[in-house]
Subunit: 601 residues, 2 copies
């Protein structure tokens, strides 16, 4: 792919853009625009920002993503988890509602955009791989619960704030006696309506004869009905005069041009928050993008996605917006509605811009409680109890990482949660690879093959031991290797040659090289020669340049059989006594599901 | 080993303690005591503490380590790097010289003791493995440079302070015009004397006929000569009246009983610092202990060492001390001087206690500049330029981790340095394993073996591909696996069966299981059956319980040959065209050093 098409994916589809595609994209854009209006307002509220910021963040970023993004159907804009993280980060340097808070959000957006852009240029798309699935899943479930809790106050008309569950619950408890009844009635009935529509509307419509696709779209339009209904009711009955909180007057305008603060101390304070917002947003976006792309046998390029999302966030920071990424629900709607190219996103941006210019007076009477109910119901799909159950069944270690992520997120906040989850996944992986499997092997009689002495009857030699190591050697297991080898030598008084069979060693890092040098020296003291066999090409290339290569007391053999032939003394051959006889090769057969299987190596 | 002997290693050697061993231990204790006096005072100075704290920390901890430690020759007490880290951590909550600072140091000591003890009980000795050698080596080199820089002020008689090189240099530059000439003369001449003695005294003595061992001990006594000489000179000439900073009056007493503060907010502020002090101290101690133990074919138990060092630090925190660990230079001297059991350490403790009670009036005239010169020369052995060069030659990645550790330590301080190093080692490891090697394999004609199609002429079948994966599957590479498999399928229009050969897969974590499920589903859409072969026992046990086991479109075969026999159609066999013909088995031979070797798998 040439440079232009790689960095400007728009060049791949725009030249072939035809009339059919235009129709599909326009229809999808219309549907997504209608859905996005309440969502954008709600996520701005969640991030502690004036409602119009959500609209502004759904204009320029979509246009920019259409130029730089590689997903055909991803819809970019404010999303729930990132909005919550924005509130948590910006809340650490300023109070919601102050100009300093707005300024902090713009800096967060700018920084996370810059970081994503730089990561994209450095081709670091693989950072998305460093978040394990249990950690992502746990983090999203916990965030959804935290967001739902943060919206309960709006639903009851009381002031409740906090960055973790304890703070929120405590704050809510303090204010519970001030519950505002009109707000509660609007909030809870909207919640009941939205939940009911989500649960039963589609199947109900199908039952009365509506086709599946329109039934699905109608069910998804329920939030619009709730918004229009409660806004109209508030206007007609003057509920805002009774103290029902509403969105209020929004200036009817296009997004303003804004210049994020260049205060470096503010940048430093928001650095970690911006990094986490960028990475979490990127991971969510890539997951959604890959899932949708695979359905149409398309592909997305994670590195170019970093550039696309980075540029989108830069655009948001200069147009009075907030951090954006590819959202799950909006992208699925876009895909289902038939979007075929990023032009659908650009048309959506134009739709939102028209709304910002013309319809904002109508939004003034929209109750905050309605938005809170919309958020809470939208979050239900993110709480994945099944994933928790499956993870527990498959791996207690992974479940533990997930559980810690959930608990830390709920009780210490989103930043601590994601950091704890990532840290724990890494430690778990190190722990798992820090005790590599190593087996003494012997020769299968009459062949060039060597198998575990505990599993097969194989030829062995008390002067010559062959240790097969089943893991790459690196810092987390290099000391364990030393211990294993030295214990083996201590137990083998007749030993003269030790061969490390390295067919499963894909890497030897500097720490492991130090350990091999130490092993070589200590075996030398004990009068045992150290040999290597089956060293892979790339590993061998590195070893050639080292002092170890020259100080090695023995040789490096191409195959273990070469080593056996060269070093095996013509003493009477001993046979190993396997702890558990393996079946002979002639009766080995393909397995049936449910048949327990042994390690056949 | 029974519980008593395991948790109280003293029970292993005390019952057999004889007269010969007593003589050896007493002699070693005498030599170490003489060496430790200036060292303990100097490290207290380095940690920003009154000199006597260094002496106190060399009494109770040694007695306790003799009971709980597993190394026969490790000498526990204040060490340079840990003292520097103590100054950095305690300096964040209080100013040097205030009672709050002393109190912070006691809490740091208590916390790191508690953490080590808990880690020991939880058998977490393997945490030492998570610090890679390049990171440790880079950290120690950078710390040594930082410590040397921090002592330059004392050498010139000017006030210079700071927690990183920039702060130190800036502070020194500001005060350079105030250089105190008498201090500078004493400081620089002591430095020249100590450096000269270290460099030439031993070889000089051997040249004039002194035997090697006494020559070595005499050379190591140079610091004592410097201390006695400059102290005498200061007293005789009254240099302290000229403004030469001296240690001053130290109360002649045994260590006081102290109760560390129970202020939980202070504990929280010092938490990370205490953890890093504990782990870095533990790593240094275990490295020294293992090196010395191996020389005498003894072993140490890292988990029990955690308990021993934890208890020693607890003892230090209750007796007016500072964080302690097993030091490199003091342990080597103890070993060389012939110590045979931890009783030598206990005798050293008694020696230091006697000094604290009786000799402190003599120490009053000891110039601070002498201690600074002692520290600087002692650090020279820690700067390991050779390790930096070797690491660069062997692995640019490891060198990069080392370089970042050095730079961050120098310019952002010790805590940031060690955290950056550890983080980078982990990321580097994830990066290295995130692109696992995977090879298409075919059957070696007439055998049950399968080899890389690009390296051998092997039988292949366009309807059946066998992909061998050379790495455990986990979160960092699960997405890469998806990409690899889907790209393979996209390029193979005739494909009906894909077999993943898993002999090198030691682990499949939850993220990788999700990826296998996704691969299975997408291959199903494309009409390709997914099979596994050679799945290892423990991996198979886990898979049995999963939904994947039942949704898998194909089968799990015990061996790749079984899979080939079951799925290979009797169409004309195709032979692969290797990119580079491997030598036939008959001419394979053992390698000579210097012969380039290919990947023979």
């Amino acid at each position: 792919m040439n440079g232009l098409k790689r960095y400007f994916p728009i060049a791949q589809w725009l030249p072939h853009y035809g009339r059919d595609v235009l129709t599909s994209d326009l229809l999808a854009a219309l549907i997504v625009t209608v859905m996005l209006i309440p969502q954008s307002l709600a996520y701005a509220l969640l991030a502690g920002l004036p409602s119009q910021v959500g609209l502004y963040a759904s204009i320029a970023p979509l246009l920019i993503y259409a130029v730089f993004g590689t997903s055909r159907t991803l819809s970019v804009g404010p999303v729930a988890v990132v909005s919550l993280m924005t509130a948590a980060s910006a809340g650490q340097v300023a109070s919601q509602g102050t100009p300093a808070y707005l300024s902090a959000v713009l800096v967060l957006t700018l920084l996370s955009g810059l970081m994503l852009l730089l990561m994209g240029i450095a081709r670091l798309g693989l950072v998305a791989n460093f978040l394990s699935h249990p950690v992502i899943s746990g983090f999203i479930t916990a965030s959804a619960l935290l967001i739902a809790a943060s919206q309960l106050g709006h639903l009851l008309g009381i002031a409740a704030s906090g960055h973790n569950l304890l703070e929120l619950m405590h704050s809510m408890g303090t204010h519970l006696s001030n519950t505002h009844w009109p707000t509660m009635i609007v909030g809870l009935s909207t919640l009941a309506f939205l939940y009911g529509a989500r649960r039963w509307l589609k199947s109900g419509l199908i039952k009365v004869g509506v086709a599946a696709r329109p039934a699905d779209l109608l069910a998804k339009a329920a939030p619009i009905v709730a918004v229009v209904g409660t806004t109209g009711l508030t206007w007609a009955l003057g509920l805002d005069q009774w103290g029902l909180a509403v969105v209020g007057n929004i200036p009817a305008s296009l997004p303003p041009l804004t210049l994020p603060s260049a205060d470096l101390s503010l940048w430093r304070e928001l650095f970690v928050g911006a990094l986490l917002i960028g990475i979490v947003g990127f991971v969510e976006s890539v997951s959604v993008g890959q899932t949708l792309a695979a359905k149409r046998r398309q592909r997305i390029d994670p590195n170019q996605e970093l550039i696309g999302l980075g540029a989108s966030n830069l655009a948001a920071s200069f147009t009075g917006g907030m951090p954006v990424t590819g959202g799950f629900s909006r992208s699925v709607v876009n895909f289902d509605a038939g979007a075929e190219t990023p032009a659908a996103g650009a048309f959506t941006a134009i739709g939102i811009a028209l709304v910002s210019l013309t319809l904002t007076p109508l939004i003034a009477y929209l109750p905050i409680a309605t938005l809170a109910a919309t958020i809470i119901v939208a979050l239900l799909s993110l709480v994945d109890i099944g994933a928790i159950r499956r993870t527990w069944a498959y791996s207690h270690g992974d479940f533990f990482a997930m559980l810690v992520t959930i608990l830390v997120t709920l009780f210490f906040g989103v930043e601590s949660g994601i950091l704890a989850g990532v840290g724990l996944s890494l430690i778990l992986h190190l722990y798992r690879t820090s005790h590599p499997h190593a087996a003494l092997v012997g020769r299968v009689p009459g062949t060039e093959h060597f198998r575990n002495v505990e599993r097969r009857r194989v030829e062995t030699d008390p002067h010559l031991k062959i240790l097969r190591i089943d893991e790459s050697l690196y810092f987390a297991n290099s000391r364990y290797l030393e211990d294993t080898v030295l214990a083996l030598v201590a137990d083998s008084p007749q030993l003269q040659h030790l061969i490390l069979a390295c067919q499963a060693v894909n890497l030897i890092d500097t720490s492991a090289l130090d350990s091999l040098e130490a092993i070589n020296a200590r075996l030398g003291d004990a009068g045992v020669q150290l040999h290597l066999s089956e060293v892979k090409g790339p590993v061998m290339d590195r070893l050639q340049k080292t002092e170890f290569r020259h100080s090695l007391s023995g040789e490096i053999f191409l195959s273990t059989f070469d080593a056996w032939q060269a070093l095996h003394r013509q003493s009477p051959i001993q046979m190993s006594i396997p702890s558990d006889e393996a079946p002979p090769a002639s009766v080995r057969h393909s397995s049936k599901p449910g048949t327990p299987q042994g390690d056949n190596v």
